[in-house]
Structure formats: C-alpha cells, structure tokens
C-alpha cells in the first residue's frame, strides 16, 4: 500500500560532482521491491509544486537512502537541506524488476545516478544471484556510492569519462562482447545509453530497463508520463518504471 511518510534527514551528503546521498529516517513501510520509486516533496511552500520521483537506493528498516544528482531547481533546493529537516515521501510506487532466480547470471549496466535502483536490486539479492556489474560515471564519486556493487558482484567494472575513477570512457565500452551467457540484463541510466545497449542485445526478452519520464503525480492520475511502447502507450509511473526490452521503443 502506498503511504505518505515523513522522513527526517539523517544526512544529505555530497558524494560526487553534483551527486548526493540523502538518508532519511521514517516509519518502516515494510517490504519495498527493487525498482520501485518514491515521490519526494521538496518544500513545504508550494514552489516547487510537484514532488520529484526518486528511486530507492537502499533501505534498512526505517532508514531510506536516495542517490540523486542536481539537475534543476528541485534537486538544487534538495541539496541544501540539512540534518533534521523533514521531507514527505510517497512510496512505494511503480512496478519492480523481475524476480531473480537463485544463482542466475545477471548483467547490471548502470549510468550515473541511474545506478540507484540497481543498487537496491543488488542489495536485495546479495549472495543469491551472480551479478556482473558495469557502471559508469562522468566523474569521480565516493566509494560509498558503489561499494555494494563491489561487494556483491562476481565481476565489478567501473568507468568514468574523465578517468577519475576506474577505466576511462563510457561504461558500454567495457561490457562483455558476448551477452549470451547472461540470463538477464538489467539497466538504468541515460536514455542514450539504454538505446545503445538494446542494440547490442539480440534477445530483448531478457533485458529489463528502468525508464524515466517527467512525472506529475507518480501514481497514474495525471497521464504526463506517457511513452510510446511497442503495442500501446505506456505510463512510466504505473506500467513501469521497469519495462521488458520487448516493450520499449526508442525513437523520439
């Protein structure tokens, strides 16, 4: 059941260029599935008016973590919030990644803050699934951003465009040539990255992508998050944010 809970900021820490981890303490709403997201209300005033969609990065009981990048007004204001301040959190929203099987080989491809839901996934299935993680950033981020991937993956590769971290370049330059060995490929990140990744995969059915679209509500009433799917119009907030590779089209 979707709830609106009040989170008190435990920390709101800069972990990279424009990238922050926000930790909130709030009522424990119970199980949240990997890939689900929350709508955060940034201000008590009515400007900005809408909530901001954010994937769960991690959850420990009543501690909720988000990994976010400052891109506009809302996230800029968020980045100035301090310990003790309260933020209203609407969650859990959306569908989730498919259930992973014991010992399955799963390729994880993440770009930038798109790693947030993937981090939740990896934490959720740690030690049960064989993760092969490839994540890229544009520049340096602190280890706490990717430490879970590092700890819970069979293979862990990280890259950055300015070579401040791991290999130099976009992460797609480093993923395995042969993708046949993976039972699932799960990815989240810039739309361009997802599009290129999809081209590399023959069997679209094993790919799961978490998409982003501008959202007014996050729970299906405003119809602003529509994206064209293979057979029908999809609404990212309720049909997604996770879509199977067979459903998505890239051509806008």
């Amino acid at each position: 059941m979707v709830k609106d809970i009040v989170g008190e900021i435990v920390f709101n820490k800069k972990v990279g260029n424009n990238i922050y981890i926000l930790s909130l303490e709030a009522e424990d709403v119970g199980e949240i599935y990997p890939g689900q997201f929350a709508m955060l209300r940034i201000e008590n005033g009515y400007d900005p008016f809408l909530r901001r969609p954010m994937s769960l990065f991690k959850k420990n009981g009543n501690k909720y973590y988000f990994l976010y990048q400052v891109v506009g007004r809302g996230t800029e204001i968020l980045s100035r919030k301090r310990e003790g301040e309260e933020i209203s959190i609407l969650l859990p929203l959306g569908n989730s990644f498919p259930k992973l099987k014991e010992r399955e080989n799963v390729l994880i491809v993440g770009g930038g803050v798109g790693i947030a839901p993937l981090n939740f996934l990896v934490n959720f299935y740690k030690d049960q699934v064989n993760f092969y993680t490839f994540i890229g950033f544009s520049s340096f981020v602190l280890e706490e951003v990717y430490v879970d991937f590092k700890n819970y993956s069979r293979e862990f590769v990280i890259s950055s465009e300015d070579s401040s971290l791991g290999y130099k370049g976009k992460i797609l330059d480093f993923i395995p040539e042969n993708l046949d060995n993976f039972e699932k490929i799960i990815s989240c990140g810039p739309s361009k990255m997802l599009e290129i990744l999809m081209k590399k995969v023959k069997d679209k059915e094993k790919v799961y992508l978490s998409l982003e679209e501008r959202m007014g509500c996050g729970f299906g009433i405003c119809l602003s998050c529509a994206v064209r799917g293979k057979n029908r119009l999809l609404h990212v907030c309720k049909d997604g944010p996770v879509f199977c590779g067979t459903e998505v089209v890239f051509n806008e």
Binding site: D4, R41, F49, R214, L223, L233
Partner: protein
C-alpha cells in the same frame, strides 16, 4: 440536514468538495488512497468518442507554484469508458460527473446519447477544446456556440449538465448567461489558463503545441476574482476550480460565492488531499451551514462600506 450538504440544481452533494476532471483519473486510482465516497463528488477525466493518444512529450512542466500541462485529452475513448469505468462508477455512493469533450459539436451529442443510459449524476461539458470545424477556436470562447452545445446536450442527456468555462473566453459573464439560457445547472470556473514556457536551454517552446494549460496555486487569485464577479451577476450556481491546495482556499472560494469547489493539480502533490479537506470542512462547519456562507464576503463587504 447535514451542515455541509449543498444542493446545486437538481443534485445534492454531501459536502462541497469535488475533484476536478483530469486530476483524479476515473475514481479508481484515488480510491486506492481513500474511500472516494467521502467526497461531495468527482469529475471523470474528459472522454471523447474515439480513443486519443494525447500529445507528445513533454506533457508537464513546472513553473513557479504552478504547472503547465499538455496532456492532449489522452483517453481510451467512449467504448472503453463504458466497458471499464462505468461499472465501477455506477456502484459509487457519491456524485459522479462525467466530463465530455470533442473536436466537433456532433461528438458531444454522440457521447451524451450514450451516457443517457448510464447511472451517473451528471455531465460536465469541457469546452476548452479546439473546434476543428471552427478553425481551431476553443468552443468555450463563443457564447453562441456554448449555448448551442449546452442546449443540445441538455436535451439529449436528461441529466443535470454543467459547463466548464475556459478563462480564454473574453466575455465570461456572457458565456455564463448562455449556459443558463441553454438549461445548464451550473458553471465550473475554470479550466486551465493558456500559458507558455520556453525551454531556455533548447531555445524553443517547451511544448510541441507551444501553449499549454496553466493550473495550480498560482492561478487562484485570478479565478477567485471571476467567481466574485459571477456571483454578483447571480446567473447560476458556481463551482469554483483553480489553485485550491488547502482548506482555507476552499473557504475563500465559498465566501467569494462558489457553491462547490473542485480540487485539481493538488491531487498530484497529495493524493489524500480530498479526504483531508472534507474532514476539515466537517470540522469547521459544526455550528454554521455551508449554504449560509456561500458568498458571505459580498454581504460583509457591503456592510463595511455602509
């Protein structure tokens, strides 16, 4: 009689709080958050004869304390509405107003003919749509057009008909009079304002269709002004809609002359807002009746002047 009950035309509302068209889905979605039967009523997403995919992205954009939307009337069309929504709607124990829209006059009538058979409380005519036969002008701008469509729908549907006005109309009073003379039971004031946002990074309009509908707290003082003016003219009951985000906004609307209010964009920010405000209304009106305070600010102001 309950202190918060309000009659508008032939309909009785258990309280003056409704949710606005396009901001509460078709009821089911909000019903997940609370029992929507607690509401005075709600208005469904505008339906059209044929399914509509709506406009290309982006469809929503934020401005200061307001939002611009260009959804483009995405909806599954009348048939799907009858099949998938009506059964749920007919079982509800609150007023369900079905919003209808079209690109041609005839489309309004076609929908009305079909809805005649449904167990719904009434119809809200959404006239903020471009009239493809009339050069793309919004139906709601022209009093004659408003009168014609309203009259025909009233005749066909055999249920209360409300007309939702567009603030783009130059003569709001004239349009409201047209609704009255055509047999409409109330005017809903307003649909969204026409607004523009420029994406300064791309140096082009944010929306593919350039203009979009502006709503949210930002528009409240302007809408409230028209509610006041319409109340002074005493034409028809007024359903206030625009920028309501909390209970005191509702009071402002009622005191200015609205018999009922609709909550729109605020549902996006807080899905429980309808329920919260209903409770606040019940709390506030313990001694006094809502109906006795509709338009009270007009009386109080005159008294001050004397």
């Amino acid at each position: 009689m309950s202190k918060v009950q309000v009659k508008v035309g032939s309909l009785t509302f258990k309280n003056p709080i409704l949710l606005a068209s396009g901001t509460c889905g078709n009821g089911k979605e909000i019903n997940k958050f609370y029992n929507i039967n607690i509401l005075g009523g709600f208005v469904t997403k505008s339906i059209t004869i044929n399914p509509r995919e709506g406009n290309p992205n982006p469809r929503i954009w934020e401005s200061y304390a307001g939002i611009l939307n260009s959804i483009g009337l995405e909806n599954a069309g009348l048939d799907k509405f009858l099949e998938e929504e009506i059964p749920f709607l007919e079982k509800l124990n609150t007023n369900v107003i079905v919003s209808i829209a079209g690109e041609k006059k005839e489309e309004y009538y076609e929908i009305a003919r079909v809805l005649r058979e449904c167990k719904i409380s009434g119809i809200e005519i959404n006239l903020s749509c471009p009239n493809v036969e009339g050069g793309g002008m919004l139906f709601g701008i022209d009093s004659e057009m408003v009168k014609e469509i309203t009259k025909n729908v009233v005749n066909i549907v055999d249920k209360p008909v409300w007309v939702k006005l567009t603030p783009q109309a130059k003569d709001i009073i004239g349009v409201a009079k047209a609704v009255r003379s055509a047999g409409g039971e109330a005017v809903v004031v307003f649909n969204t304002f026409l607004g523009l946002a420029i994406d300064w990074k791309k140096r082009e309009p944010v929306f593919k269709r350039i203009f979009a509908g502006y709503s949210g707290p930002a528009i409240k003082p302007i809408v409230l002004r028209y509610v006041w003016e319409l109340y002074e003219e005493n034409i028809l009951p007024i359903v206030g809609c625009g920028g309501i985000v909390n209970f005191t906004d509702v009071l402002e609307y009622i005191f200015a002359g609205a018999s009922l209010v609709q909550i729109g964009s605020a549902n996006f920010r807080d899905p429980w807002i309808g329920e919260k405000i209903v409770k606040e209304v019940q709390n506030y009106f313990k001694e006094e009746k809502v109906v006795d305070l509709i338009g009270i600010a007009h009386k109080n102001h005159e008294e001050v002047d004397k």
